[in-house]
């Protein structure tokens, strides 16, 4: 791993030298278009890369970053009892930061869990109960049920059939005559 990291480190130190032609020059040509009134870069006074670097070293962001390095060095290398003490006395703050404000947990429960709940409901209620249960297998069951009842009509007794015929004739007669 060290080799590739070294190879990557060299250009990252030197790449800044190209900032003049790349950012302030015309390296990108027309590929990046900026409206004249939005052109904030032109308001910077750019006088070559070394002036740019010197200017950067005098501004607060650089010193804030350095202060962070210093503070981290002191807290974790020189006097590690301080962060331990902070941990104890500001435990609530520590937990909030440790849990990333609870966003991971929120996503896990609401989005992930919610999607699975929706999926389970749609699958069990929609697909299995309503479509498959009521309609698809329901149609098969209905046919079975109706056939089971209809079968009873075929009793094998002649007088049942004769009676059914008389009933039929009576129905037809009432329909046509009345």
């Amino acid at each position: 791993m060290t080799g590739p990291l070294i190879l990557l480190a060299i250009p990252s130190v030197l790449a800044g030298l190209l900032i003049g032609p790349m950012v302030f020059g015309h390296f990108f040509g027309d590929a990046i278009f900026v409206l004249a009134e939005h052109d904030v870069l032109s308001q910077l006074n750019y006088h070559g890369v070394f002036g740019f670097m010197l200017h950067g070293l005098q501004e607060p962001p650089f010193w804030l970053a350095m202060a962070g390095v210093g503070a981290a060095y002191y807290f974790y290398m020189v006097n590690p009892s301080i962060p331990a003490k902070l941990h104890r006395s500001f435990n609530w703050l520590y937990r909030i930061l440790e849990n990333k404000y609870g966003f991971d947990r929120f996503n896990e429960v609401v989005f992930s869990g919610g999607s699975r709940l929706i999926g389970r409901v749609l699958w069990k209620v929609g697909d299995q109960t309503m479509i498959d249960g009521a309609v698809v297998n329901g149609a098969a069951k209905t046919v079975g049920l109706v056939s089971k009842k209809m079968r009873l009509v075929q009793s094998g007794y002649l007088y049942h059939y004769a009676f059914a015929m008389i009933l039929g004739v009576w129905l037809l007669l009432t329909y046509f005559v009345a």
């Binding site: 999607s115 699975r116 389970r120 749609l122 479509i131 309609v135 698809v136």
Partner: protein
């Protein structure tokens, strides 16, 4: 001479006759090589349909027209355009994959298994090539028989329920198709599908016909809510059956809508486009959530197939909304082309996903996600392919899965922002169910002794997956060859659809 005028017939009948030859030969050392040769020659011949294809015209090509049942004016009439040609090649290709996939796995009645798939290939190619309504219907129905046998004989424990459900579902749909075709013959005096396109119909007639077509083809696609046969059929089917089911038979539903519903009943399609769009978006969103919670690998992929096919029907029916909003029809061209690209792409990706599950099943004899975990430790090459295909399934740019979905979503924007918004949820849901599955099956520590003893893919399996991976990547990076062949046909379809029959 024969080759020039009868290439389509050759591509149809070679696998059917070859299948019969395999069947007659029985189970011996020749069964598998013979099947492979038949499928390879079919693929080679079908490539002739591509090289000899004239991209500049929407007219039917490689036309064959012979009287078949003269009393009823039924013809053996074949021809292909930019829609059917890619699907025919996809069919021929998938058959080769299925033969290779079943090579060592199918030990029981191998000759019957191979024959079923070869015959089915011929029947499906014929469905795509038929220009006579009755010829189409005969092949459309005949296709069910081999698939019925494949699931019923080589299927899982619950195969009888699955086959009957699958058969009754599709048969229920095709009854309406038959009635519609007979009515059209009554009106037009011919069974020629192209004459059906030209016949004038009132809106009432069109509405009845449209819903007849919709029922028939929606079951095949399958669209929500007539989709519940698919997960059952996939779960019970052997790997080859799942591959063909996902790669080809679902496409016949989309193809039917393209060939029948849109050009024959354009006004009804325009009136009820909201209905089909609503069902498509339901399929995409609802089924995406359902796929998320599946614990069975095959069921998960089956549900994901339904969601992906939602893009096909969405692409086909957003065109009316696009024409309402936009001055040019370029968005509509994009939508239809996106739908066909999605069909072809899904054919490769779903086939690959089912093959991956099949490879695991052959080794562990379970499809439960919870039985796996840490497969990458014992099957690194397989894991690489699985992750790639899962990414393609989720629509990763650079894979073919992205192209069709992207085109359809882009086009849907021109019809209605909310169509595009709902369709785009698939990018999240698709990633969620595909990647979560990969995480649970492939990554992590070895979860149990069975996983620890897994053997990585052998040479046959490697090449099978490698070829599919190359194609998925090729279409993803350079879809132009696929889109170019259908361009003229798409534009012709759109002029037909815009031409009111009232």
């Amino acid at each position: 001479m024969f080759f020039d005028t009868s290439l389509l017939s050759l591509v149809i009948w070679l696998p059917i006759l070859g299948g019969i030859a395999v069947l007659l030969n029985g189970d011996n050392g020749f069964t598998r090589p013979l099947s492979l040769i038949v499928s390879l020659v079919t693929l080679f011949l079908s490539a002739g349909l591509y090289t000899g294809f004239d991209m500049t015209t929407h007219d039917m090509q490689f036309v064959e027209h012979i009287p078949w049942i003269t009393t009823f004016g039924i013809h053996y009439s074949l021809g292909i355009d930019g829609f059917s040609m890619p699907l025919i090649i996809l069919t021929a290709f998938s058959t080769v994959i299925v033969v290779v996939a079943g090579w060592e796995v199918i030990q029981d009645r191998a000759s019957q298994y191979m024959a079923a798939f070869l015959i089915m290939a011929g029947l499906m190619i014929a469905v795509f090539a038929a220009l006579d309504a009755i010829l189409f219907y005969v092949f459309f129905e005949a296709m069910l028989i081999p698939l019925f046998l494949v699931i019923g004989i080589w299927g899982g424990p619950n195969r009888v329920y699955a086959t009957i459900k699958f058969f009754l579902y599709t048969f229920f749909g095709s009854v309406f198709l038959l009635i519609a075709l007979l009515y059209l013959r009554h009106v037009s005096g011919s069974f020629a599908i192209l004459e059906f396109h030209a016949v004038a119909l009132t809106l009432t007639e069109q509405t009845w016909l449209f819903f007849a077509f919709l029922i028939a083809f929606a079951v095949k696609v399958p669209m929500w809510p007539v989709h519940t046969w698919l997960p059952d059929a996939h779960v019970e089917a052997p790997t080859g059956g799942s591959v063909i089911l996902a790669a080809i038979t679902l496409k016949i539903g989309g193809y039917g809508l393209l060939r029948f519903a849109l050009p024959i009943t354009p006004d009804a399609a325009m009136t009820f486009d909201w209905f089909v769009i609503a069902l498509s978006l339901t399929a995409i969103v609802y089924i995406g959530f359902v796929a998320l919670v599946q614990s069975d690998l095959k069921k998960l992929i089956a549900y994901s197939s339904i969601a992906h096919m939602g893009f096909v029907t969405l692409g086909l029916f957003v065109i009316f909304g696009i024409f309402e909003n936009a001055a040019t029809g370029s968005g509509a061209v994009l939508a239809v082309e996106g739908a066909v690209v999605q069909m072809v792409s899904h054919g490769f990706i779903a086939a690959a996903m089912f093959l991956c599950v099949g490879l695991l099943y052959d080794r562990m004899h379970t499809r439960e996600i919870s039985a796996y975990g840490g497969v990458i430790n014992t099957m690194p090459v397989f894991a690489g392919f699985s992750v790639f295909f899962a990414m393609a399934n989720a629509g990763l740019p650079g894979t073919s899965g992205f192209v069709g979905e992207f085109m359809v979503i882009l086009a849907a924007f021109q019809a209605n922002f909310w169509y595009a918004f709902l369709a785009a949820t698939t990018l999240i849901l698709g990633a969620a169910y595909s990647l979560w599955m990969v995480k649970r099956v492939i990554f992590g520590e070895v979860s149990n002794d069975n996983v620890a003893e897994l053997q990585d893919v052998n040479r046959r399996e490697f090449w099978m997956l490698a070829v599919l991976a190359i194609i998925v990547l090729a279409i993803g990076l350079w879809p132009a060859p696929l889109i170019d062949v259908m361009h003229a046909s798409v534009e012709h379809l759109l002029t037909q659809v815009l031409q009111s029959k009232l």
